[in-house]
Amino acid sequence: MAEAREPRQAARWLAAHAALERRRLALAVAAGVLATLATLAQLLLLARFVGALLVEEAPLATLLPLAIAMLGLVVLRSLALFAQERQGLAASLALRRRVRGELLDHLARLGPAGLAARHTGALASQLVEQVEALDGYVARYRPQLVLALLQPLAVLAVVAWLDWLAALFLLLSAPLIPLFMALVGMGAERLNREQFVAVSRLSGHFIDRVRAVATLQLFGRTREATAEVHAAADDYRRRSLRTLRLAFLSSAVLEFFASVAIAVVAIYVGFGLLGYITYGPSPQLTLASGLAVLLLAPEFFQPLRVLSQHYHDRAAALGAADGLVALLDEDPDALRGSAEAAPPAPAGRLVVLEGACVDYPGRGRVLGPLDLALAPGEVVAVTAPSGGGKSTLLALLAGFLGPAEGRRCTAPGLRFAWMDQRPLLVKGSLADNLRLAAPDADDASLVEALERAGLAELLTRLPEGLATAVGERGAGLSGGQAQRLALARVFLSDAPLVLLDEPTASLDADSEAVVVAALRRLAEEGRCLVIATHHPALMALADRRLALDASPGEGA
């Protein structure tokens, strides 16, 4: 039943967020209703104008006020439509900003340990594309959903006042409206789902061939591959047309009823005016009231047609909400542990672990129980077979994870520095990247930090020095240089505790030697280094080794 529950959960989440924008959305609806009222009044005046002109044969000059009133109503309607769209837009922008903020807060609480298993590129796309996909639903679909009920009611009331039999014709189609909506909805949803699957499969094929294009070139197979790409797209066309033939039928039904209603009303009114119909209100029909009824008939169906145009916005938003709700489902507190304060570490100790254990959901105990005390100036090498909990221990020391049992006590106000195999490089200048660690550092200290990290030589080669732009995701720096830049940040920060997760794992021999030398200088500054590593040169730095065993409980 999980599959049946999920979409409803997404819909609830979406509705809850939309409720926060209820003021703007209510204004949008109000503006929409105002536009309808202006339309109704304008059409009634138009009918009256025609009646006065053709039946009463009033001189044109006496009809001028009527024409001016109509013009005023046209302007009012335009303004109301503008206001409706603007309010929907404002609601959508505010909602998307709030949702993205909420997601970012949540991800920050989950922290590095909570995100470790996720593909960051896909996550970032989710935060951009799926949040943006909520737009149409909030800006257009939500207000229109209410308007699709209110506007036909208003039209029906006016038509009933003019001619109750004509209103009855429209009303008879009213029970069909939910049917229409279901039809349109089912069609649109099915269309959307099937199209989505087919489109992504087709894009997948195209992307797959583009990705392998170098190989296709080498085997001299590009011409065949081009033909194949074309053929796949054409095959997709043939299959999707079969779906479309059915899916378009539902909106054709709606279209058909709207057209038929106009035709039926026109013929009813015409015959009534000729005096062929003697039943009910028909004998009282005048040219003006008959024309008004005709003009109002399409307005009765228009809101529903608009709604059906926005229906795919709803499907898109629900799909996106599904992904976002799944993301929000993870509980950060389960990872980080409750915030209840452990007592501070005793003086002279940076971090003290007492019988600390870490459990991962689904994997059970991955670390501990472990006792460990870290003092300033110590260098501790942590070794373990892969998957043996090295990264977990570092995350525990950093506070990215909380102990499931036991305690983690830290010195009051403890700050730490962090470095792993994939150093963070932000798009900006070299200085921007360094000042992450120390926002107020002056240029001289930045240069000094670069020197200590073994980047002095690089700096002298860069004509723009500290202002040199570092491209997106570190473009322009080699892996070794990027790692040394992260080290420079460590030097720049005055954090007494430095946590290093396999800092040299992805480096070639030369870069590795530079990094090891820099770490030695760092240790000489009196900082406490905890290094998770396999590497003999790094282990040689340590004055203490902590071998974590695959079986928990025998560490330390």
Partner: protein
């Protein structure tokens, strides 16, 4: 923020190649537009004829009530009304179906065309476009351009035709009404198409870049969360994200307001034109130049024009997005230089090829230092050279040059004594084979991946190739055997299996020059011990270039090396 060319000439020039592509299907496009016109005519006709009918019956009814003998044929207009109601529905349905078919055909055209463009990119241009977001953008841009006809060209063209047609029709009865309505609506059309596009151009064009920038910062934040949290820099980074989002939304607010303005203008325009039609028709009626029912028909016909104009504001305000997509795809087309076709016709003699590079230099566009500087090397036919060096030393560049996936800036390359540029493409691909560092497998069957190397190979040959790399037992145990799909990028295979499959692919060919980039990377020692001698035997009688990080004399060194050359920053470091 106007670093893009905003002139209309630039716009047309950017769209021109894609309009030409559309033009190849002009028959279908005309058919689709014709159906749109038919739908619109039915909608206008339905409302206009109904109005005429009611007015006619109303006036006749008055005469009858006054005891005047009057006649009105109710069956013809009644039939017309019913016919319009039906054609409107049917035409709309057919139009949607037909035009979606067209759009999907255009999509196939676009995909095919762009794949051919990508296939013409050289190694450097491809390497710079490896990132997955480039691939995503490419497909998104294709989709955007795909809507050029249905969202932009057709609605604008049909609306224009409808305005002119309606004006002419009304002018038949009352020229003043026809001309005024046409003039008003034409001015409005011009604004909706040109004005909205101009005002929205820059902002809508920036949307893709804005989203990319936001995505880039998000990746930074998510990947660097540990460091950001450690240094307490998270809030600061969030502010940068917020600034990017604010810029993106500033543009969206502008675009959304513009669309709202356009929609409001459509309402104003149609309402105003309908009023003008009513007033002028009333004047004509009082002058005795127009019948009563026609006075009613005219404003109603104009009201129905709403349907023709409603789609224009949103489509044209976002024209910049289409233009941006076209510009990016044009840049891609420009980056694809036609490869040297080698029409020289010189075919080298059969047998192992000699290799000769003389003072070859290569500099990538935008790089400050040359990647290769006056590099020379020679291999006699059948010799094996190991080219060593750290990553970035220029090994892969040498391979790309020899495979003619890059052209040298200076120097000469000859294979088998014939200048590389003069080699016929087909002969080059048949006689020179390469195992690249990254193994590309298609999301297709094992057999299809093997047959890339030998399209006509029989199953027996495929099994023999698999046996050669010790994958035959594994493949035979798979329920679907050779038809087993390898998954996206070969994901369902281990790295070692993928590498061996790539080696098996080479074995299906009979090349005279082989380039092998770290042939044993990712394989375990046992497999290497068995594969090494086989590779050695297969390479006998073929000239071979190994690309390796470094040689250590161990079991992972490629077999039978005659010479080794170490590259240091694009220059020969030592010859042994």
């Amino acid at each position: 923020m106007s670093r893009h060319d905003q002139s209309p000439v630039g716009l047309l020039a950017e769209l021109a190649p894609w309009l030409r592509l559309l033009a190849r299907r002009r028959g279908r496009l005309a058919g689709g537009a014709g159906l749109m016109v038919l739908t619109l005519v039915s909608a206008i006709g339905l409302l206009a004829l109904s109005g005429w009918f009611i007015a006619a019956t109303g006036l006749t009814g008055l005469l009858l009530a006054a005891g005047v003998a009057a006649r009105l044929d109710v069956y013809l207009p009644g039939g017309g009304i019913r016919a319009f109601a039906v054609t409107r529905t049917v035409a709309r349905y057919l139009e949607r179906l037909y035009n979606h078919d067209t759009v999907l055909r255009l999509l196939a055209d676009l995909r095919g065309r762009l794949f051919a463009v990508v296939a013409g990119l050289d190694a450097d241009a491809l390497a710079r476009r490896r990132a997955s977001d480039w691939l995503g953008r490419l497909t998104a841009d294709i989709d955007t351009l795909d809507s050029l006809f249905l969202r932009l060209l057709a609605p604008a063209g049909v609306a224009l035709a409808a305005i002119l047609g309606l004006g002419a029709f009304l002018a038949l009865f009352a020229p003043a009404v026809g001309f005024s309505v046409a003039a008003l609506l034409l001015v409005g059309w011009g604004w909706l198409v040109v004005g909205q596009a101009r005002l929205g151009m820059a902002a809508s064009r920036r949307q893709v870049e804005g989203r990319d920038a936001l995505r880039g910062r998000l990746v930074e934040q998510l990947q660097g969360l540990a460091e950001l949290e450690a240094y307490g820099a998270l809030a600061d980074h969030r502010r940068r994200l917020a600034a990017l989002e604010a810029a993106l939304y500033r543009d969206q607010r502008r675009l959304g307001s513009l669309v709202a303005l356009g929609n409001a203008l459509v309402a104003l325009l149609v309402g105003g034109a309908s009023l003008a039609a009513l007033w002028l028709a009333a004047t004509a009626w009082q002058a005795g130049a127009l019948s009563g029912p026609l006075v009613v028909m005219m404003p109603l016909a104009v009201l129905a024009m709403n349907e023709a104009l409603a789609a224009l504001p949103a489509a044209f305000t976002w024209l910049g997005a289409t233009r941006g997509a076209a510009a990016r795809l044009n840049a891609l087309r420009r980056a694809a230089s036609p490869p040297p076709s080698g029409e020289g016709g010189a075919t080298p003699l059969a047998g192992p090829l000699s290799v000769e590079m003389a003072a070859v230099s290569l500099r990538y566009p935008g790089a400050s230092l040359p990647t290769l500087e006056r590099l020379s090397l020679r291999l006699a036919p059948g010799e094996r050279l190991a080219l060593c060096g750290a990553s970035g030393a220029g090994k892969s560049s040498v391979a790309s040059l020899l495979l003619r996936r890059l052209a040298p800036d200076e120097g000469q390359i000859r294979l088998g004594g014939v200048a590389l540029a003069a080699w016929p493409e087909e002969a080059l691909r048949r006689r020179v084979a390469a195992l690249t560092q990254r193994v590309d497998l298609l999301d297709d069957s094992l057999a299809a991946n093997l047959r890339l190397a030998a399209p006509d190979a029989e199953e027996g040959a495929l099994w023999a190739a698999l046996a050669w790399v010790e994958l035959a037992d594994w493949a035979a145990a798979l329920p679907e055997g050779l038809a087993t799909r390898v998954g996206e990028g070969g994901r369902r295979l281990s790295g070692g299996q993928a590498r061996r499959l790539a080696l098996a692919r080479l074995h299906l060919m009979a090349p005279d020059l082989v380039l092998l980039d770290e042939p044993f990377a990712g394989l375990d020692a046992e497999t290497v011990a068995r594969l090494g001698p086989r590779l050695d035997a297969w390479l006998a009688g073929r000239t071979t270039l190994f690309l390796v990080h470094q040689l250590d004399g161990g079991a992972f060194d490629p077999p039978g090396i005659d010479h080794a050359l170490t590259l240091v920053e694009g220059q020969p470091g030592g010859y042994t």
